[in-house]
Structure formats: C-alpha cells, structure tokens
C-alpha cells in the first residue's frame, strides 16, 4: 500500500522534503512507518516529541495505516509539548 507523508517545520527542514510517498506492507502501523522514515532520514530525530496525524486526525503509533492515507508528522506546536 502507498501512503503520503507530510512533513512540517523543523522536520521538513531536516528531511529536506515536504512530502514523501512511501510504500508499506498492508497493515503497517504509524510507528513502523516512523521507524522506516528514520532510517532514511536520520535527521528526523532530535526535534522532541513527534505527534502523528492520519488524514488530519491525531492518532497513535499503533494505528494501522491504509492505502491512500495522508500521514502528517507533527513536531511540537508553539504552545508546548505534545
């Protein structure tokens, strides 16, 4: 299955990309996606807690992704820690 990953702010700068298209095994979780992204983009670490949203809804790392999902990696927003 294919998902679209959106990166913002410090994550976007560290990866050098705003959007990444990623192919994953069926049933892969958001956490497994982050694991895979981190291997390709080690600069993604070090920004503190990353929240994950799937199709504009906050979710957790155990969330199982589906084909066509838009996954946003959300670094800390300006008010404080997630």
């Amino acid at each position: 299955m294919t998902v679209t990953v959106r990166l913002f702010a410090s994550l976007r700068e560290r990866a050098g990309l705003a959007t990444i298209t990623r192919t994953l095994d069926e049933g892969a979780t958001a956490g497994e996606l982050l694991d895979a992204l981190h291997l390709d983009f080690p600069g993604l670490s070090g920004v503190g807690r990353i929240a994950v949203a799937v199709n504009s809804e906050y979710t957790d790392l155990a969330h199982r992704l589906r084909d066509g999902d838009e996954v946003a990696l959300i670094p800390p927003v300006s008010g404080g820690c997630g």
């Binding site: 959106r6 913002f8 702010a9 410090s10 976007r12 956490g31 497994e32 982050l34 694991d35 981190h38 291997l39 080690p42 670490s45 070090g46 920004v47 503190g48 807690r49 990353i50 949203a53 504009s56 809804e57 906050y58 790392l61 155990a62 946003a72 959300i74 670094p75 800390p76 927003v77 300006s78 008010g79 404080g80 820690c81 997630g82």
Partner: protein, 178 residues
C-alpha cells in the same frame, strides 16, 4: 469565521463575524509578535500551517467553546508566513450576552489552539532562527514511545532520551542511535 491567511489580519472582519444584537460583550485576544524571547532579541516570526488539519482542529475548539459556555459567536484568524514585530499573528473574538463567559471562552480558545492546532512558529533573531517548541520537548520522544510500545513490560529499565538503539521485534532492523 475560521481563517488562515498570509495577509495582515483585519480586526473589523472578526468583529463583524461575531456581531450579535443579543451580545452585551465582545472579548478580543490578539497575539502579537514581540521583540524578545528567552533572552534573545527577536527580529520577527514566521508561521507554517498544515491547512486542512488546522482548520478542522480550530473547528473542534470553537465547537467545544460553544458547548462549554453560553457564548454567542467565535471567530479566529491566524497568520501564516512572516509576521513582523508589533503585528498580530492570531486574533480570537468571542461575543456573548455577558462578559464573564466571553473572557473565559477566549482564554480557552487561545490556550487550546496552542496545544493542538498544527501551526508552527519560527523565531528569527540575530544569531539565527529556531522553531519554537522543539527544544523544550525532549521527554516523550518518538523513540521512547516506540520502545515503550515494543517492550511494554512493567519494571523494564528506562531507556534514556539519548539511547534509541532498540530493534523492533521480528524485523531485524535497528533504530539508529540518536
């Protein structure tokens, strides 16, 4: 009215959006770019948003405000892009019959906005620039969360923030050390 704009916010538009002949009070909060932060002289701020989700999260917040307090209308405008010193980055207007709930609801909206709405702030100062929020959030990192998820055994020794090298079960792949 929920607005994301890269142009200067027009206060009159928000006031018009909350106008109600039954309202005896309108409370307006304006978040401005100030010239100092954490001992640094700030030259300006820049905001970046995830537009679709910022809109839906703002909608949730204003819906909650209306559910919790007997207010009339709420309007929110947030800028994206560069916001110079002394200019407004966010404006929240709340109208209600009486002032108490307008103050309370306006406070709730801005506090909640800063927690959940996917808008990020980059601060420019003479030595460089920094995304606000990153440097203060070093607990509960993604690596720690993944470790907890993969080895949820009570009493397991804690993994420090700097040690991310744990192999997910069954994959053979290791997380790089942070």
């Amino acid at each position: 009215m929920l607005l994301l704009t890269d142009r200067p916010i027009v206060l009159d538009e928000l006031l018009a959006a909350v106008a109600d002949p039954a309202a005896g009070a309108v409370v307006v909060f304006i978040g401005m770019t100030r010239n100092h932060n954490e001992g640094r002289e700030v030259e300006g701020l820049e905001y970046e948003a995830y537009p679709a989700m910022a809109a839906s999260e703002l909608e949730k917040i204003t819906t909650e405000a209306r559910a919790r307090w007997p207010i009339s209308r709420v309007a929110v405008a947030h800028r994206t892009g560069r916001v110079p010193i002394g200019m407004a980055s966010v404006v929240i207007a709340v109208s209600s019959a009486h002032r108490a709930e307008a103050f309370t609801a306006a406070r709730f909206v801005i506090d909640r906005l800063k927690e959940t709405v996917p808008i990020w702030k980059k601060e420019y100062f003479s030595g460089g620039a920094v995304w606000i929020g990153d440097q203060s959030c070093h607990s509960g990192t993604w690596q720690e969360e993944r470790v907890a998820e993969l080895a949820p055994v009570p009493g397991t020794s804690a993994v420090s923030e700097r040690d991310g090298a744990v192999a997910p079960a069954g994959t053979g792949a290791g997380l790089p050390r942070s």
